[in-house]
Amino acid sequence: MSVRFDHVSKRFGDVEALVDFTLDVADGEFMVLLGPSGCGKTTALRILAGLEEPTAGAVTIAGRDVTDLPPRQRDVAMVFQNYALYPHMSVYDNIAFGLRMRRIPRREIDRTVREAAATLAIADVLARKPGALSGGQRQRVALARAMVRRPRAFLMDEPLSNLDAKLRAQTRVELIRLHRQLQTTVVYVTHDQVEAMTMGHRIAVLERGRLQQVGEPREIYERPANLFVAEFIGSPSMSFFRGPLRQTDGGGAVVDVPHLPFALDPAQAAAARGAGWAEVVVGVRPEHIVLAEDFGERYAAATFEADIDVVESLGNELHVSLISQGRGMVARLPAGAPVAAGEARRFAVARGHLLLFEPEHGTRLG
């Protein structure tokens, strides 16, 4: 079912956990709330579940205002970060709990529980207590418990954060598969951009209680709405350079970063002129910094000399920390690129990939 946050705000004393938050989640959509710790993601989810009352605004589920309904009348299922399994109940009873609360007939409960347990490969631990399970198994029990309810929406609060890296990657794929199978609306909270990018149909990026941008993963990555999103999304992070905007002959424009002038495309130059900005912040993704020798100068927005500080090899690619004129930046190069720490090399920034931001408010041009 569709879910809507309608100008929701939440204060805890002096803390503004959520400010005028408006978000529409379509029926069947996998929506990810992404942001750094403390940005209000959990608060938003708890308000949706009915565990927290908003200070202002309304929440609707399937078109119905549920702001004043208690959790049990909202028909949503929640997967908690620490799973919140009932420690004294067997896995079976944990999964069955929500169904029993809803007075579903016994035989139907049994069938549903076993079905879910089979889907999540926990059929062999149904008799155990949660204390006797591994982290991954507990996580599945929490998922199964949510799944059997056939709720209007799944709410998940960093459900993978307690798993080790390998299990996390596995479970991510399983969650995607599970969602495809169930087609239930999901609101998924995480601070992990990989989870957000791989799982979300759309991502809502939050910072300090404020919604920064909503969009498909690609859109967020390629056209971040502002400096915060640009810096937060992508690993390694974008590099930023600030300088005055200067017009050149022939209608072009240059961002005159000292020792590192960036030539703008004609369209971008026109837009920048139109916006009337005096100074500009240029954002460059690591994959758009390349070795100059591999690259035709005329495809470059800038070329520069840099010292190679650290080379991190990930096997399939290199993350290379550079220092140029006292400024640090990171390049992502293919494995086997001829670079070594301590060397000085010439690098180029690929044309057509520059992102321009207004320095004060951080809004992106275009």
Binding site: R72, R74, A77, Y86, F97, M101, R145
Partner: protein
Amino acid sequence: MSEETMAGRRVGSPRARAIRQTVAAAPFLLPSLVLFAVFVFYPLVRSIWLGFHATDPFGRNEVWVGTAQYHDVLTSSDFRHSLLVSGQFALYTVIPATAIGLYLALLSHRRLPGIVIFRTIFSSTVATSVAVSSVVWLLMLNPSVGVLNYVLGKGGVPTESWLTSPTWALPAVAMTTVWMNIGFATIVILAGLQNIPEELYESARVDGAGRWSEFLHVTLPGLSPTLLFVSVVGVIFAFESFGQIQILTQGGPLDATNVIVYSIYREAFLHYNIGLASAQAVVLFVIVLLLTLLQFGVARRWVFYQ
């Protein structure tokens, strides 16, 4: 790690390590050990010893009499009566005190402004001595000037001379004891409540549980170790009660409140029958021990420890 590798690293055998740790722990344990030895272990051993000996009224001139006194105790109808009274007394005190403590703890567990005041009030009886509360209750239960009869009279309920009625004396003493134990029960249960993660309640609420289901499926199982503890201690308190009996009824009327400890006291200090009193005390010790073991046996099956 195998013993070989440890030997190779000169860590010493596990046994040597255990000895070293014990030696290191000894100075820290010593003060408690001394206190226990003087006030618990020695009297216990001495009581068992005296149980096998007849003595003069000052506990001297011990004469070995074997198990005769234990036999007397176990076959005496007076002792059986005291045992029954103690059992009833435990029943009348433990269940109400635990239930009321649970109720008050649940009431004052919520996060409300000023709730600390109520927590303090509910727990306050723990800071009141048995003697003081007994004297207060003695006044309140007084048939002619006591507040209880006054209130009952106003309500049109027949009044009673509580402490001198063979029917009502034990319930009346039990009631005062419940009052004394409520504070302890409330404090311990409040502490138990704090140990139940808030997330479990939230999860249950999202899963469709109402207040009653939350209580039944989250609170009660989460509190089971605490409730067991409170009731075990309550039973032990009940079997060891003395002060309130001494002040309120002196075991009367017609032995209606002659609980085991009071009967031991009478045997030892009114009848100067030290050996017999010791034998009773040892039997009481064994009974309390068995009850405790029984309750922990029950616990293994029903109580959930996280």
